[in-house]
Structure formats: C-alpha cells, structure tokens
Subunit: 673 residues, 2 copies
Amino acid sequence: MITTDGNTACAAIAHKLSEVIAIYPITPSSPMGDLADNWSANSRPNLWGAVPQVIEMQSEAGAAGTVHGALQRGALATTFTSSQGLLLMIPNMYKIAGELLPTVFHVAARTVATHALSIFGDHSDVMACRGTGFAMLCAGSVQEAGDFALLSHAIALESRVPVLHFFDGFRTSHEIARIEPPGEALIREMVRDEWLQAHRERALSPDRPVMRGTAQNPDVYFQSREAVNPFYSNLPGIVVAAMERFAALGGRSYRPFDYAGAPDAERVLVMMGSGAEAACDVIDDLNAAGARVGIIKVRLFRPFSDEHLLAALPPTVQRIAVLDRTKEPGAAGEPLYQDVVTALAEHLGFGGTHLPKMPLVVGGRYGLSSKEFTPGMIKAVFDNLATAVPKNHFTIGIHDDVGHTSLAWDPGFETTAERSCHAAVFYGLGSDGTVSANQNTIRIIGEETGQYAQGHFVFDSKKAGAVTVSHLRFGPAPIRASYAIGTGQAEFVGCHQTNFLDNYELLDKARPGATFLLNAPWPPEEAWDRLPQHIQAYILDKKLVFYVIDAYRVARQNGLGRRINTIMQTCHLALSGLLLPDVAIAHIKASVAASYRSKGGSILESNFAAIDQAYENLHAVPVPDRLTATHGKRQLVPENAPAFVREVTSALLAGMGDSLPVSRMPVDGTWPL
Amino acid sequence: MITTDGNTACAAIAHKLSEVIAIYPITPSSPMGDLADNWSANSRPNLWGAVPQVIEMQSEAGAAGTVHGALQRGALATTFTSSQGLLLMIPNMYKIAGELLPTVFHVAARTVATHALSIFGDHSDVMACRGTGFAMLCAGSVQEAGDFALLSHAIALESRVPVLHFFDGFRTSHEIARIEPPGEALIREMVRDEWLQAHRERALSPDRPVMRGTAQNPDVYFQSREAVNPFYSNLPGIVVAAMERFAALGGRSYRPFDYAGAPDAERVLVMMGSGAEAACDVIDDLNAAGARVGIIKVRLFRPFSDEHLLAALPPTVQRIAVLDRTKEPGAAGEPLYQDVVTALAEHLGFGGTHLPKMPLVVGGRYGLSSKEFTPGMIKAVFDNLATAVPKNHFTIGIHDDVGHTSLAWDPGFETTAERSCHAAVFYGLGSDGTVSANQNTIRIIGEETGQYAQGHFVFDSKKAGAVTVSHLRFGPAPIRASYAIGTGQAEFVGCHQTNFLDNYELLDKARPGATFLLNAPWPPEEAWDRLPQHIQAYILDKKLVFYVIDAYRVARQNGLGRRINTIMQTCHLALSGLLLPDVAIAHIKASVAASYRSKGGSILESNFAAIDQAYENLHAVPVPDRLTATHGKRQLVPENAPAFVREVTSALLAGMGDSLPVSRMPVDGTWPL
C-alpha cells in the first residue's frame, strides 16, 4: 500500500500505458501533466519499456489535437485536463469518438466559469462533453482514481471507444490516502497485446493507404453515424468483463452501477463521485437504526446502461433521489436525474417487471464548486424522500431564500465512522510547508500503524500566501469521509500563524477536550493573555488542552530560516498519541533524510537538531477559568464601509461565506467595491 | 411580402437590433455575417439610426469574446455561426449566460464533425450548448427565422437571459420563400427602450465602478449560481407575453409549444425545426382519413417549460413519439426525448391531473446531416406508434441493417398539400447561375400571381462546380413541405448540362406527363437518339413531354459567354404555364435590368436579346414509342475496381448514396481507396 493523491494514482497508470502524452496545465489537473513530464524526463518507462513522449501544447485545444493525431498514427495517447481546458477539447472529442480511436482523457472535474471563475470541483465540465460519444467512467476516491484509470485504458483499447475518466477536482485529485495501487503484473494482465496490435494495424500508414477525415453529404452521413452503434451497445458488457477480470486478478470489485445498503431499501440515492463515499457511511448508520435505505454509485455514466441500473436497484425501492454535481439553467432536469427517470420510465412503459411500479424520482444539486457535502446533508436528502411530497429540483448545502430550492440539514449530524477516526486540522500559510509536512505525517502513520489515513487540503484560489487548511483523519477502516472535518469534530487543531487567531473561528472545529497547538513567539506564561476573546472562549467552552511553541525561533536558531514544517509536525505527533514520540521522531528524521538526500549533510543536521528541539520548546499553557482577553476578533472592514461590504464581503474575508444565503449574492457576478 | 431565405430574414432583424456584430464565416451561417457586413458597409442603420459595427475575428472563439466584451460595455451585440464555430463559442457562452448579458446568437444549425465532417444540417451543434444557460428558440421556416429573430432579441433584452436562436442549416437558412417580414413599426414596438436603457445602466463604466469576472471559492459559488434561478423561472412567462404582443401587433401567433392536429389526438409527435412543418401536412391528411394524431412543435427548447408542454398536449394522448435531429452515442436517450419523458414522469409522479396516466413515449432520430425527412417517414413514425410494441430509440430515413433501429417507410406517400403544388426540379452546375435564376423565378411568380413559393437548393459539399439541384414549389397556400421534391412528384424537370444525363437518374423525380427541358447542343431531331437508355426509358414510361434548347449557342451568339441562366429561366416559365409568356418575359427583363443596372447598356441588350431568342430556340422533341439509345448509364468506376468502390463509392458518385444501408458504411470514417 502507498500513500498518494488522486492525481498521482491516476497519472501513474496513464504514464504506464501511454506513448504520447499531450499536456497543458490547468488546475486541479496540472499535477498529472507535471508528474508525467517529470517521469519521462527521468526516463521512466511505460509498460512496454519505452519512455512516453510528453508534449506541452499552446492550449488544451492543441493537446487534444496532438492526441487525435497520435492515435491516428497508431500510438497510445492520453491527456489530462479540467474545466475550460476540457471545453477547448470538445471539437476534437467528437472527432476522436466518431473515428473510434481508443484514448483516455483523465479529468480532475472542475467548475466551468459562469458568473465567476472557480478553480474548484464539480461535474459541469464533464457534463459539457456528454454528447461527444466518449464513454465516461467516474472514480469516487483516490483508490478508484488509480483503479479506474487502469480500467479506462483497458476498456478503451478493447472497445475502441474513447473514455473520459474523471474524479472530483481537489476532493479526490488532491486528497492523500493510503491505497493499494494496481501493480505492474495486474496492469500487464489487464491490457492485452492483441488490442494494442489491432490499434497499430489501424494506424494511418503509407503501406496501407486509406482515406480518413472526409466530408460526407446527406446521402450517407446518417447511415455512417449509426454504424457505430454496436460499439456502444457492446460497451457495458466489455466494462463488466474488465471489472470482473480486474477483481479476479486481485484488484477491487466494481460494477457499472454499484449498489450499497439495505437489500430491501425503500429509499435510494443515485449519484457519482466522491460524495457517494460519505453517503455509504451515512447509509450504514441509518440502516443500523432501522431505516431501509441504499445508494447506487454510478461508475459507468456513458454509455448509460439501463439494464445494469435496473439490475442494481432493489425492487423494493419506492423513492429515489438523484444527485447531480452540476447545474444547467433552463434544463428539464440535471443530466443524471433525467437519465434515471428515462431508464425507469422506459422499463415500466415497455412492460419491465423488475419494479412493480414507477418509483417517485426527485433530483437535486449538490457540491457545486467544491461546496461541502456532509453527512447531515446526505441525511437531509433521505429525509426529504420520506416526506409526503418530496421537494424536487432541490439544492442541498446552501440556504436558498430566493428560489426556496434548498433542503435544511443538521450540521451536527455525525457518522459512526467519523467518530471512530482521529481527526486533526491545521491552519497554515499557502506554500509554508504545512501541507507537505501533513502528507508526510499520513505516510508515517499509515506505514507504521497500518491505520488508514486521509489528508484533504483546503486551498484558497489565491494559492500561495493565503490560508491553507489541512484536514487529516486516521482510522482503522478505509476512510470514506469525503468532506472536510466539521464543527466540533477535530481531536487536534494546529495553528501555524498567530495572525490567523484574530481573523478566523479556527477552534470551531475542535471537539470538547481536544488539543490546540499554536506556533507563537510568546513565552508560555503570556500566551493565554495574548489570545483574542473568541479563541479564549472556545478553549474554555470546549475545555481544550493548549500548547504553544515558538517554532520560528527554533527554526532560526538551527539555520532553517522560516521553515517550521518539520518542527510543527514533530509537535503534532508528540501530542496526538498516534505514535510513541521516539518512533515518531525516527520516522520524521528518516523522511527528512530522504527529502534532502541530494542537498548534503549540513541541512540534514539542522533539521535533525530542530526536530530534537521541538519537544524542548513545546509548552503546555495553563488555562485559567475565565476570559482575560484584551481584544476581540478583528473587524475586517471599516465600520463605515457600504452595507454590502460589511455584510457580505467581510463574511468572505472571515471565512464565513458558507453561511451567506442566496439572497445576499449578486445575480450576475457583479461585485460592489 | 418578400421573397427571401432564412439567413436573410434572420440577419435583417439582427442587424436592425445590434450595435456590434462579431462574425467569422462558417457554412451555412456565412451569408448572415456577409449580409450584415455589406449592410453596414453601405451605412444601413439599425433601429436607432446608428450603423452597426461589424467585426470579423480570427475565429468564432474571438467572435464570442468580442460579443462578451461589447455586452459588458453596454452595447447590443450579436453573432452568427454553425457547427464547430458554435463549439468554439461554448466557453464564452457559459460566461455570458452566467453574467445575464442579453445577446442573441443566431445559429444555422449544422452537424458537428464526427467520423466525417459535414456541412449539412442537424441539431448536434445546438445540443452541445444546452448546458450553457442560454435560452433556446427554434424556428421551423423562413417566416419563423425572421419572426423568432425578433422575438429572441426582445426576450433577451427584457429577461437578461441570452438566447440561442436556431433554424435548420440549408433547409431553412438557404430556402427561398415568400414571407411577411416583421416591419419597422412592429420591431420598434417589440423592443422597449426601457430595456435598452437598463442594459446601458449595467454597463461597466469608470463612472460606476464595480467588479466583474471574479474568482469565487467554495464558500459562495453555489449560492451565487442559484441566485440566477428567478431569471429562468420567469422566462417562459416573458416568452409567452412577447409572443402574444407580437401576434397582437400584427405578427403571427406562436407559443412555447404549439400544438396542431386533432384536439382528441391519441398519437402525438414532438419535435422542433423544419421537419415539423412537413409533419403538419401529413397530420392534416391522416386526420382527414379518420386518424386522431397531432404534433407539438417545440419553439422554446430552453428553458424547458413542463407547464407549457402539458398545457399544449391533448389529455387524450396515449402515445408520444419524440424526434431528435441529433445523436449522442451512449446517452440514455436523445435530449428532447429525455426532456419530454422527464416532464411527463414528473407531472404524473407528483399528482398532476392533466393526463390520466403516463403515455408511452418513444424517441427517434431523423434528419442527421440534412437527411431528408419526408411525408412517408412521418407517417411511418405515426404507424410505429400504432403497433403493439412501438420501437424505441429508432431511426427514420435510413435502412439500418446492423443495429436494426430503422423504421420502414413508404417513399411514395404524398400529401394533399404536395399534390396541390406545382413542383419543378433543375439540375445545374454549382455557380452556373441556375440557383439565382430560380430564386428570381420564385420572386416573379410570387409577386405576379400571389402564389406561395418555395425554393430549396441541394448543394454538394464541393460547392462550386458540382451538381446543384434546385427544388421549386408553387401553390395556393403557405408551403410547409420541408423536404426535397421526391420521386414522381415534379411537374417539370430541367437539365442544364448534358453530362448529367449519363450519370444520374435525373428523371426519377418527374411525375407522369411532366415536362422535361434539356439544354443540349443537339438539333431537336437528334436529341432523342442522343439520350442514354435510362433517360429514354423514363420519358417513355412516364409519357414525359420533352423539350430541348441549345442555350449555350443562344448565350454565345448574344455575347453572354456561358451564362445560360436567364435563357433557361425563360424556357421554364414559358413551358410551365405559371404565367402568360409575355408577362413572364417582361418580369425576367425587369429583374435583369435591376441586376445589371450598374453595368450599363450593352450587357442589358445582350440579355434582352437572349431572352427573346429563348422561345425561338426552344423545340419540342418528338418522342417515339420505343427505346433507341445506343448507350446506357455511365459506369462510374472501372469493372475491376475493388468491391467497396464498385458497390459503395460508385453509388455515391451516381447520387444513389441514400439507398446504401448502414452495413455498407465503414464504422470509423475510414474510406477505402
């Protein structure tokens, strides 16, 4: 097992199975192209011993064109993209699919810019391509991003239908998890040389001249367009066979539609992507409490196989909620919702007997632009299904006081799985090393204790220099909590910068009795009094244990400048109790040694010294029984600012934007100054 | 009333209601940009007395960006495009709709390139944009292309939601028809100054600084995206009001979904675009024969208004066929089909009472890449609905012997409306003047006789130099026959080039007793014997009246070089009996005079002389009672050509490609040499 993120898990497979990789960077898919470029620069070979050629183009349109050309020449070609990048590939995608060229486009799914740009995750980009003729496979976790990358390449090569393989941008692309990546032997078994050979034989070649890329007239275009049908009708069978082969070879078990939950469920959720993982935890709890609920996880979105959907659906189902992570204003319904309605209506309209009658199907939108999708929200979707007249075309995750689409939810609802995890939250500056230290911690805990671990990193779109919140979970079972650590759920809160104290509610996530570690240039005896009032109040209310370290001084004294990441990491491991301190230190030193291997001895010694000194400089701060603060939370905008700035902009600055209702939002992206 | 084509009818309105027109040429929308550019170059003012600025960009992506920028500055901006051009606009379309910028994109809908490029018409380009948030209005005729252009601009300005206005490429964009264009007074009444003023006040301006085009994070993006909902929920009401205002002001009467047919229909067709016009003729005949059938013409495709669909549908409906002019391989169903299924399932699932139970809904594809959609095909779609288990996901218009999706149809089925028309077919060379002469004939007949007229021109994608077939209809009522003149339906066949005789079945379209006019350099007494056997056989079998003229000689003798168009036009009018010969000649001369006004006297005199001599050189050819041909149809490929070339390629060369079944088509666009 390895500790990695979704982009890396996916790119490793794509690089292994490609000869030409055309790239153009776009968040959050950029690391895939970056990794592939690095691997090829370091002569890492693909499955057949050749080093893939990585070509950066002028835009994603060029990358798609490069893939198209390489495929026609008989090469194995792939690309990585997101959002607007994917939109630029659309024209070539129609061509590639129409010409039955086996490629995989790996997509870290991201919001398409509308009233505002967003670098975050939803399925609006992928949905813009659903008419192209690409097959579409959706991975819901880091593990699946690797597994489905492999399945996608195998399926494309066998079927000749190109595959768009996607997973949730940032949520899955950047999540760190312990996974079992498909090994070389498994990869080799999944991709048969005869398919590759057939692809080679279809290559354009002066030795076997044919004409492609013609223009057709009304006389034969329609017939030609229908000639492709058997490739699509055969595809679900090929996917099932590939998934079964994958499982038989020691991989995990998947189906085009995977059902989980009560075998006699009355209420069923249908969705795809990372949110389905969290839903499984909720469903386990609801069923344990006597409910009859379940979920269909959509893996194969295109071709949409009615037959496999029906087979997966318990015949007891009465009501279905279909969740789409996209919005198409003016549509009769979001895409997956309409697909499910259509499949069921056809089944019953044509005398199908799997279901006794048409279930009531409702559709909802969730998670646009990486909006959190939490257990409380999932439960609200099931609760809506249990009402006399469920709301249709609802939203979940926001408060819509304009169109009144939103469902209310309980933000405190917590799953059993979540309670069994150790959760830790860290506030660092973008690019200050906090994220990589936390990634390292996950690796250490995973490898040393065998526990499952998850790291999720909430970046600001300003990227470098803004606050970055790391969410770490450790637990005995695979972690399916595909949402940020919520209010009152963290056993540990680390704050790496004192200026965050005055601006943010950064202890709202602490559980009662949790540990709070602060990096501050204050003697321990002054630390309490220096805190602003809202931080003191949290500590008192939740009876937190409070530690302080002057990590910048330790770093400086050891010649590390402002690099405090390993110091803070050492303190976290010491305080968390996840490992014995000596063991933790040995691992941290080993990984520092690995990181700085090429930099020579003195930087290693400085780091080792700083790690050792971390303990000595870590101080428990005595917490009095009352507030002593001399200042409160910083007022982020002047009192005489315009009402919009005071009420809306300042909420964003304070990290409280989630609480703003729809009515406070400009309708057209116009932001008052 | 004027005689014009769909592109011109649409562009005239767009030019009248715009200040900035960004263009990039792409077939079949190019004439719209071309016309707008010409009008502005000639200082033709818009409604407010200003001359629109026409800007040609480097691509359609730039044109969309130009529109976006102009709108943000408060200008009225529009563009015209098709197919791949529209795909390049998609990223900007999401932005324009997200920012609620009122524009209209006028689209001559065209096939998106897949296994092959096609310049012909279907809705695959428009469907690729259905997630963007643009409203979509579909015009089904030349009249509607003008009317809906006006409605689109008015609706966009009032609602702030941008509109994609589309009509069928070539079928509507290039069809010539007699229409009543919206007049200046009607246009002025439809577009209120207060909407324009509001648009101006939203313009980005240093006098009222605001911020737009921001990036948003997960905290507020979702809420902001939902803030736009009221604009979409209000839109159908705005559309209805605009349509009612348009009718009240003397325009025609439209609704978001227009129903035609039996008020107690059991079988109902749902479709949009030009094919719905032909369907109305078929429905009239079927109902006259005792059937209970009808059609919903979809005008407002987005936002898709369930309420208005339900209100338009007769509650007696038992079965519905939804026809889509697009194909999305792997989808659960084509877009309009899924919308209708969703709307009905929601209505009944939530206790709606307009329908007693769920009708059986089937979907089919038709007309891809301008494949003909004829009365026989329309009847076959209704016949399918009457079978015990109607075929779903069918195709109509091809013979699918692979996936067995196709419905069989009777190619001889003819409507009463069609039989009441005078139909004439002309075979000319691309760019030889045949098309413009026929356009001129339509104007003359329309203006002189008050008859309705239609001209449809079947171009080869090679454009100049290839065969172009003109289909002309004249009749007492508006002509809804949105299909080419079929086998045995033409009262008149003109062949302007003798080399077509040996290659094509060009008399298959002649009715029994029809007139055949041939331009040939043969004395009348030789003409019969010179014909190939299959042409002689048609003349004998159908008892055609056969005329010949050496139009090239007449042209040459009058100094007109190879320009035979007015000579052939004169012969057609003389033989057709549509006008008295003297009247016809006077009109032709008048239009020649108008065309060559700027060229001076001698060219006019030459044309007049040629027109006068046309009669003298027109000869009836005596037809014997038996075949005398010394040669047959030309063999277009050598006998030793590969089987594919003999059986498939040669059928295309012979103009018989329509008859090729799916099994003869390469699956991936690979064409053997």
